[in-house]
């Protein structure tokens, strides 16, 4: 019996007054993020959306612990993310970033191998994770034998293999064609229903954002700031037919309006 289904403990994420400044004062520093605060409930599907340069990817990187804000703090389940805590937060990038010299299974085992977990348990958990993402028969394939969507699924399996409290995803479907994107979106929701951890998802696509999210943080650029948090109360499980409803269109338009006309202090044009 596969040991998923809500046994994964989910953690909430607290972002408190985070700012990110690149460069030094004389050279003309760029303020990538300005005073962002938000709260992500455990087990929720949270989406960050916004134009290029709004700092959403930087914010996600800070949640992984690989990047530190110039001021402010990020807590994941109460733990300050001063460095990566891989059993707390798994990461999926836009490019799958699988190691080409390893099979799919070995790629998924990678985080466990780093932790020194013995081979037998590694194999077991990796195969479970691959099964979860629907790639049970492809464990021995190498990345170059897999399609873009399949590679991304392996990447997701790798992110989930440690059953982290949070899964961080940085535009994971951006490099895929539209049909694959839609399929993967459904897949992801199906997996999430089973595992139940918190998901933070960054995307450019408003359609994708509304389809997947419980809550959407809409950000503006120059400097990157949180404009509004839009709640999506479409019923779950989501289906593609919902994309044709007026509620869906309304939410999309709302977000689009926010992005086009950033209101509030501290924005340039």
């Amino acid at each position: 019996m596969i040991e998923t289904a809500r046994t994964t403990r989910a953690a909430g994420i607290e972002v408190r007054g985070v700012s990110m400044r690149y460069g030094n004062a004389e050279a003309g520093a760029t303020l990538a993020l300005k005073d962002v605060s938000l709260s992500i409930a455990p087990g929720s599907f949270f989406v960050l959306v916004g134009p290029s340069g709004c700092g959403k990817s930087s914010l996600l990187m800070m949640m992984t612990g690989l990047l530190q804000p110039t001021s402010g703090q990020i807590l994941c389940g109460g733990q300050a993310m001063d460095k990566p805590y891989p059993d707390r937060a798994g990461v999926v990038f836009q490019e799958a970033n699988l190691y080409p010299w390893l099979t799919a299974q070995k790629n998924v085992e990678f985080p466990l191998m780093l932790k020194g977990i013995p081979q037998e348990e590694r194999s077991r958990r990796a195969i479970e994770a691959l099964d979860l993402v629907g790639l049970a028969g492809f464990a021995q394939r190498h990345p170059h034998e897999l399609s873009g969507g399949m590679k991304q699924r392996v990447s997701i399996a790798r992110g989930l293999v440690q059953q982290p409290a949070v899964l961080l995803m940085d535009e994971p479907f951006a490099a895929l064609d539209e049909q694959t994107r839609l399929t993967m979106g459904d897949e992801l929701l199906r997996i999430w229903e089973r595992t139940g951890q918190t998901i933070v998802f960054v995307t450019h696509s408003l359609t994708e954002a509304v389809y997947l999210a419980d809550e959407i943080a809409v950000m503006s650029a120059r400097p990157g700031q949180l404009m509004e948090i839009v709640a999506v109360d479409l019923p779950r499980p989501r289906s593609l037919e919902m994309m044709g409803t007026p509620e869906y269109a309304g939410l999309r338009n709302r977000i689009w309006q926010l992005i086009r006309n950033p209101a509030g202090p501290g924005h340039e044009h």
Partner: protein
């Protein structure tokens, strides 16, 4: 696809060699060229068999092999260390890389007199010149290989909490293995060439010296047999290493 199988067989290097040898033999027998200038393939084969039965030949081969191995074992680790340093150290890398590129295109042979004056004409001089011929390609090849290790691969490992040692072992090493093998292969090409050249220039021993002597004395069958010996040695090593490269780099071609 019968046609492609045929053309693959037809154009395989071995077919070329076989055809070239056939043409050679035919031309020699037909008396197209003076037999002193171009001994027939069969004659060269005979002389080759004779030479391989003589102790003197094997002694020369042994000397050359020793020099080649010695230079290789010094130049490759040294070059890898320097190349690693230049790749990891942005600043000094930027300072020295153009210099290395330039040094690379200078005929190294012009420095042979310096080596002779400094180290003499014996084994040590050949090894020293071999190291000199090889070290630049190793430095450049390795530093390119290190730099081409995907930053994203490193990033993933860091996300999952890998230590520096783990990153070196589980990301750099497998990622670079085919490139390291290629470096070894190229290093040997340059190394062997340098050693043979040094032996041909001024030497008392080694296969290069024999070649030069046979050339001076117009002993063409022996000269051509010598060419065959050296060519075979070079190709065997090269292709073996290339086979290894392909085995470990099967994932490279498809990226």
């Amino acid at each position: 696809m019968k046609t492609s199988r045929w053309s693959a067989a037809l154009l395989h290097p071995i077919t070329f060699f076989a055809a070239a040898i056939a043409v050679w033999e035919a031309a020699a027998r037909a008396g197209v060229v003076d037999p002193i200038l171009l001994p027939s393939a069969s004659q060269v084969a005979q002389v080759l068999a004779q030479l391989l039965g003589q102790a003197g030949t094997w002694e020369a081969i042994g000397v050359t092999a020793l020099e080649t191995l010695g230079a290789f074992l010094i130049a490759v680790p040294a070059g890898m260390l320097i190349g690693w340093f230049l790749a990891e150290n942005r600043y000094w890398g930027a300072v020295f890389k153009p210099l290395f590129y330039f040094l690379f295109s200078i005929p190294k042979s012009i420095f042979l007199p310096m080596f002779i004056l400094a180290v003499g004409i014996g084994l040590e001089q050949k090894i020293a010149f071999g190291v000199f011929s090889t070290i630049f390609i190793v430095v450049m090849s390795i530093s390119t290989a290190i730099e081409s290790v995907s930053g994203r691969h490193r990033l993933v490992a860091e996300c999952y909490g890998a230590s520096r040692r783990q990153i070196a072992l589980h990301v750099f090493l497998p990622s670079m293995l085919p490139a390291i093998l290629e470096t070894l292969r190229l290093a040997m090409v340059f190394n062997f060439t340098g050693i043979i050249l040094a032996e041909m220039y001024v030497s008392r021993a080694g296969i290069g010296h024999l070649l030069e002597r046979w050339g001076q004395n117009y002993m063409l069958p022996q000269l051509m047999a010598g060419v065959v010996i050296v060519s075979c040695a070079a190709i065997v090593f090269n292709e073996s290493l290339r086979a290894l490269e392909n085995k470990f780099g099967h994932w490279r071609a498809s990226r």
